[in-house]
Symmetry: C2
Subunit: 191 residues, 2 copies
DNA sequence: GCCAAAGTAAACAGATCTGTTTACTTTGTC
DNA sequence: GACAAAGTAAACAGATCTGTTTACTTTGGC
């Protein structure tokens, strides 16, 4: 059920990320999704409300996807390695960057257009990145790393840097380069 | 001379970075700069041409500023240290992030709104980041580092990651955190 | 002081955008 | 098959945006 609403959100997410939030008009989302305007405004009070729901959904789907990806790799390729889960995160980035319609991160892109710190959209971005860092921190703790707080923050810089590099330079190898740097930080922290 | 044009470009750069490129209308730039519309369209054929000139200027001013900053530090605080110039880059980021009107990177923000790889604006972004990486590479070579290519790329990830983190999380400490990670990468490369 | 270059103010055109409304159609359920 | 919920199509309102034009004013050098 609610297939119209879901289809609308899927289309909106794709267009927002590919062309930007302001540059993507409601009419384009409607024509590409085949949904009527009245239906959009039945589900969402405004374009801003649509954007926020797109980001909430993206936050959830990315979170779910990454956790499943990391779980699968830590129990196979990286079985028993303390740093394995973290390396799996960068393997996940690698797959993402190589996906056909990669256009950078919805949240980083949103922060460029909604830079005001009081904007609720900016707040969602902040929360998304903060949650991802918490996840990295939990992976480090599980791996027995000390100073997980500081280390997870440094690894987040590599994650966001890789996303930006992959997007601006059209360089899908960014994830592997970040992974190499991460290995260096992790091995230094392990000694 | 050309003080009107410069004032226009300064105002446009500030507004574009604070509020986004699409969201910033010509009229706002005109009213805040006190320049008339006819003058704008005398100097620039279109809004897009204005944006591109803003980015070209920003590229040049950032490049000049960073080189002067790094030169000053390498000949004082970091005199004689092979990795000194690179650490000075992160000191520069630190100062930038703490500046009053820091709103992220004009180029990263532009790439969010002009994501199409064929867009000339996207091309400027790519060139800017590529030039910065070349600069980092030259600093590494001057410091006697081998594998400057790979290392400069990893450091670029930290640079861009720090910019994004400082902006999205409102965290000016990001530069110092990136600097710590950079020290780790540099010392591992030096051995 | 003259004159050309540069700038201003304001109206205007035309496109586009968000959001509303109305009248009609489809669809699923009992 | 009746009925209610959900969806569509299209016109519309009102705001806003880029870009042009016109008539007037300021300014800087000679």
């Amino acid at each position: 059920m609610n297939t119209r609403k879901d289809h609308l959100l899927d289309t909106a997410q794709r267009l927002f990320n590919a062309n930007g939030y302001h540059a993507t008009g409601i009419d384009r989302i409607l024509s590409e999704s085949g949904v009527s305007k009245a239906t959009l405004y039945k589900y969402f009070r405004s374009k801003e409300a649509l954007i926020m729901e797109v980001l909430r959904r993206r936050h959830h789907s990315f979170d779910t996807w990454l956790r499943e990806f990391v779980d699968a790799r830590t129990s196979s390729k990286y079985r028993g390695e303390p740093a394995g889960a973290m390396l799996a995160v960068f393997d996940g980035l690698d797959r993402w960057f190589r996906s056909e319609n990669f256009c950078g991160c919805n949240f980083i892109n949103a922060s460029a257009e909604y830079g005001d710190r009081d904007d609720p959209i900016h707040e969602l971005v902040k929360q998304h990145k903060s949650d991802l860092r918490d996840y990295l921190k939990s992976l480090l703790k599980r791996g027995g790393f000390s100073r997980a707080r500081e280390l997870s923050q440094q690894l987040m810089l590599l994650v966001d840097g890789a996303i930006v590099n992959a997007h601006t330079q059209n360089n899908p190898k960014a994830a592997r380069e970040a992974r190499q740097a991460a290995k260096c930080l992790l091995s230094a922290a392990a000694r």
